[in-house]
């Protein structure tokens, strides 16, 4: 209900309108079902359109989508869980499934899956696994996400880089060439210092398990992670990446346009954003490529979002129908067209449009080489600590060895309760 108000001051009319318009929760239509869904970022902006078609197929069901920014999503979801105000259907990054599973916030989907026609083999292997916790399927993969290089081909070619790098050494050389060509104030790649994806991916590429002993201790001091960490720090030390956090760049699309840097490491939603935000003159100049690894094409992150059914939903039947609807191959393709997010179902990839676009093809290629993050409930906090320590090392506030030692110490402390619970489970026997 829209209140077309100007910026005028308060008035009684406002009070009356407000009382009338705002019924607190539960104001459903007579007999109709009101489904609430939370979605993040661009997905949140767009899924409403798909939901309209769902509503047409299911008269009497209304879907209300609320968009939540990624930066606040984790907090908001947890707060809502504690406060008992979670929606019916939600979008969850698959690195959060373990956490919300431990909180018993998610309804297991196995019974509904058995009755439906959804086949797990139709989904990218590895992605499905990230949704299964202790034998229960807690999420339905919605779209897959992995990180790879987005770059401006014209700037690279101008610097003499004709072939995309496939190893770390080649990558460093390419970035150095771009930086030399650009001059002072110009860089090769934008790696926000307050994001954990890249150090973690580099660690995975290097063979580090990140957590040891069944996910109860940190493994950051081990040589595998160390190697990746050194490479990561080197990019900043050599001036190939600016020492900036994500919010210190006013608008990264403008900076890419201006040539402040030539590359970014980011995900599929940027396909849509680049198309929207970069000027027409540059639309032919940008492309994507898989990530380089230590000795050859490298792994990337097995990410993505899943659709989950929150326990305590008052309309689980209708909610599941919505999740099924969004998993239909046509809907997955339509979603991809609107956001650039890649379908989780292989059947959707059969659509010619997906195969034809070279930029999307790079994602398809990278998706063959992915690895997941450790599935522990504390992962979000551990990931935050990782980038915080990396940030300190980048800025020279701590030497790398101390940073990694401190990281291990902190992570060990964070996982203390997990160790205690595991020990308790062993002591009590398999029935606990």
């Amino acid at each position: 209900m829209r209140l077309a108000r100007g910026l005028a001051g308060p008035g009684l009319a406002a009070l009356v309108l407000v009382f009338g318009a705002c019924a607190p929760r539960g104001g459903g239509q007579d007999g109709g079902v009101r489904l609430r869904m939370w979605a993040m970022g661009r997905e949140g902006e767009v899924v409403g359109e798909l939901a309209r078609e769902f509503e047409r197929e299911h008269p009497g069901v209304r879907v209300e989508v609320q968009q939540i920014p990624w930066s606040a999503a984790h907090e908001k979801l947890l707060t809502a869980h504690v406060g008992g105000s979670l929606p019916d259907v939600g979008q969850l990054g698959n690195s959060w499934i373990a956490e919300f599973g431990a909180l018993r916030a998610l309804e297991p989907l196995d019974p509904m899956l058995a009755a439906s026609g959804l086949d797990r083999d139709d989904y990218f292997g590895g992605i499905w696994d990230t949704n299964v916790l202790e034998g229960e399927t807690l999420g339905l993969p919605w779209y897959v996400d992995t990180r790879l290089l987005f770059y401006r081909r014209d700037l690279l070619e101008r610097a003499g880089v004709m072939r995309m790098p496939e190893t770390w050494a080649e990558w460093r050389a390419a970035l150095a060439a771009v930086q030399r060509r650009g001059g002072p104030g110009r860089y090769g790649v934008f790696l926000p210092t307050n994001e954990w994806m890249l150090p973690v991916v580099l660690g995975l590429q290097s063979g580090s398990p990140l957590l040891a002993d069944g996910g109860t201790r940190g493994a950051f001091r081990e040589p595998e992670f160390r190697r990746a960490f050194e490479f990561y720090l080197g990019l900043f030390r050599e001036g190939l990446a600016p020492t900036l956090g994500i919010q210190e760049i006013a608008n990264k699309y403008q900076e890419l346009e201006r040539g402040t840097f030539a590359m970014m490491v980011t995900g599929p939603w940027e396909l849509g954003e680049f198309a929207r935000r970069l000027p027409d003159s540059l639309q032919g100049a940008w492309a994507t490529a898989p990530l380089p690894g230590p000795d050859g094409p490298g792994l990337s992150f097995a990410g993505g979002s899943s659709l989950v059914l929150f326990r305590g939903s008052r309309h689980p039947e209708a909610a599941w129908r919505l999740m099924e609807f969004l998993s239909r191959p046509e809907q997955q393709v339509r979603f991809w067209r609107l956001t650039g997010d890649l379908p989780a179902r292989r059947a959707a990839w059969a659509d010619p449009a997906l195969g034809a676009d070279p930029r999307t093809r790079a994602f398809g290629e990278q998706l063959q080489r992915t690895a997941p993050c450790p599935m522990v409930p504390e992962w979000e906090e551990i990931a935050t600590r990782i980038w915080e320590q990396a940030d300190r090392a980048i800025r020279g506030a701590t030497p790398p060895d101390s940073a990694l030692a401190e990281l291990d110490r902190t992570v060990d402390r964070l996982l203390e309760k997990r160790r205690w619970l595991a020990a308790r489970r062993v002591a009590r026997g398999p029935s606990s």
């Binding site: 910026l7 009382f19 930066s71 008992g84």
Partner: protein, 289 residues
Amino acid sequence: MSAGEAAGAARAAGDRRGPGAAPLALHAVLIAGAALTVAPILWMVSASLMSPGEANTAPPPLLPGRATLEHFRELFTHLDLARAFANSLLVSVLGTLCVLFTSSLAGYAFAKLPFPGREGLFRFLLTAMLVPAQVGMLPLFLMLKQLGLVNSYAGVLVPWLASVFGIFLVRQVALAIPQDLLDSARLDGAGEGRIYTSIVLPLLAPVLATLAVFVFMSSWNDFLWPLVVLSDERLYTLPVALASLMGEHVQDTELMMAGSVVTVLPVLLVFVVLQRWYIRGVMAGSVKG
């Protein structure tokens, strides 16, 4: 206070002799100070009228090349900021009424109606002013969760139902009510309720007006509590809606400035119109100690 002010004004009017440089320098400093103080607010308004991307250029422009209202349009149509505005209004008005009601009664009682343990109880309540609000916030959240009040208007209103500061302020003024006035009313046979509504309330009117403005402003600007309690965006108050907007649109400088304008301008207007009461409240709460 008024005598001093009057005397000061008279002197300022009469003291026009002396070197002309001093007053000039003084006013120059005062005006420069005023300019610096007001500059961020002016820029906020100016940037809200700029075209997208214009504010992110070097050197930063002071005025829009071509003023546009598109960001405001976007806020009120696509982003539904009007709803947040209405929510803030609802919560602030209701909260103010609640605090006025409870504080005027209690403030009068603590000043003029002796009951056993009154002074001790008042001193105990005062200790609440020392405890930072954040101490009780988490448990209060858990408590509201048990009561099912999370994510509702009622939940947001909970901190604004009663106020130790309000009681303190009202009591301060109520202490000055002549005792004979009340006693003779009692001897005339008036009940306590009648005495309160027909004698005390009119005398408390100025401090209640002040308290009203205070509470309205504070609840309008409150951020942490609504942030924690509200998860449904349709219930967001303005500050929370603005912070949420920031999450998605941090790169859209001009849009964010428009959002800030919508949040700040109403309070500024209320202040300009009602400054006498607000200022009186600030001074009353302090000078009398």
